[in-house]
């Protein structure tokens, strides 16, 4: 019986039909899809890491300068109040000023100094910032005043949680804030 089957298979001289070959090609094409996706996702993960490391780098640069300035923040704020004539100006107004934020997020070829601004009036104190990579779309500060009324040691002064936010996109088709990194530094005014 077995010998007959083998003989039949050997005698059978027909090849694959065009339909079979096309079906096989379609199946191969479908199987390649996940492989291609795997490669793309690996690239995306790698690129995401690059920009995360860069964001940490940019943030530490700003955080260090803000910490160094913290001893002078009261005087800088007083300066801003003199220049604007607005005695109610806060540190939040200063660091989230639109003109200042626009300068922070600008793309330049070289590191540059970005002067603080108060209601559009530039002060004569600045932060130095590295040139922002083209894929980064945002570099800004957000401030939240900390409630220190219940603490025993830190009762004097105003404390701020300064959040440094970076947004970037990996593909040009991505939304400008498709990737985001936030870093915090606590400042005493």
């Amino acid at each position: 019986m077995m010998a007959k089957q083998v003989a039949f298979m050997l005698q059978r001289r027909s090849g694959f039909s065009i339909v079979e070959v096309l079906v096989a090609l379609a199946v191969i094409s479908l199987a390649l899809g996940p492989l291609i996706n795997l490669l793309s996702s690996s690239n995306r993960a790698s690129n995401a890491s690059i920009y995360e490391v860069m964001a940490v780098h940019y943030a530490s640069e700003l955080a260090e300068q803000l910490e160094r300035l913290s001893g002078k923040l009261g005087e800088i704020l007083a300066d801003a109040r003199i220049r604007t004539g607005n005695p109610g100006l806060t540190l939040e107004d200063l660091l989230t000023d639109n003109g200042f934020t626009n300068e922070l997020r600008a793309h330049n070829d070289q590191p540059r100094a970005v002067p603080f601004q108060a209601q559009g009036i530039p002060l004569e104190v600045s932060l130095f910032v590295s040139s922002l990579h083209q894929h980064f779309t945002e570099r800004k500060f957000d401030l939240r005043q900390l409630n220190n009324s219940a603490t025993t040691w830190l009762k004097t002064g105003r404390y701020w949680d300064v959040k440094i936010t970076f947004c970037w996109r990996i593909m040009s088709s991505d939304a400008p804030d498709s990737h985001k990194g936030e870093f915090s530094v606590i400042l005493k005014e």
Partner: protein
């Protein structure tokens, strides 16, 4: 005896020329697409991994520089120093840079230098204490081309008097360190990557800790 029951499996007919052409063209199209996609994908992966390696290595270097800066009393960058006025925001074109930076502490000096070796360039950190043996450490940033350091003295003014009386200007020291990475390798086509970091080398008011005051 040949079985004729099935039109496809049983047929003794081979491929026609047109069929072979269609299958060949379709296969070629798929193979070319897949090959180009994978080739580009692998190239992008290599490039991404390589850039990530460079950025991570540069971050380690910057982190070590920051630590040395915190402990030092003065910085030497040779002639690579510039002063920026109160209202200046951009660095002047062609500003001086040095490929060596030295941090002088009370009992030691630490020098970072770009060294060119047959297998490529790297940054050498030499820690020389006044007592004890010298320690060296190599920072290999893949594909590093240049290492540049400059001291920037930025003038600033905090207005404490009512205008128009102008308060005196003060000067704050900062150190700009640039690491420029680029590739000569044709397999990894990357644009020049400039990684810079700015360190505050001086506080804005006199104190007796951490930072140096000339």
């Amino acid at each position: 005896m040949i079985y004729h029951g099935n039109r496809y499996w049983g047929s003794r007919r081979g491929f026609s020329f047109v069929e072979i052409m269609i299958v060949t063209i379709l296969s070629a199209m798929i193979i070319i697409f897949v090959q180009s996609f994978f080739s580009q994908g692998v190239k992008n992966t290599l490039k991404g991994t390589d850039t990530l390696e460079s950025i991570r290595a540069a971050s380690l270097l910057f982190s070590q520089i920051r630590k040395d800066l915190m402990a030092c009393q003065s910085i030497q960058t040779g002639a690579a120093s510039l002063t920026m006025g109160v209202n200046a925001v951009d660095l002047p074109p062609g500003f001086p840079v040095s490929d060596t930076i030295t941090f002088c502490a009370r009992n030691a000096t630490t020098t970072y230098t770009l060294v060119t070796a047959p297998r490529g360039k790297y940054i050498l950190r030499v820690f020389t204490p006044t007592v004890g043996s010298t320690e060296t450490k190599q920072f290999g940033v893949p594909r590093i081309k240049r290492f540049e350091a400059t001291q920037i003295w930025k003038r600033y003014r905090i207005q404490i008097f009512p205008l128009p009386i102008k308060s005196p200007t003060l000067k704050q020291g900062q150190v700009l360190v640039n690491v420029i990475v680029d590739s000569d390798d044709r397999r990894i086509v990357t644009k020049e990557l400039q990684l810079s970091s700015i360190f505050v080398s001086q506080q804005m008011y006199p104190s007796n800790w951490n930072y140096f005051f000339p």
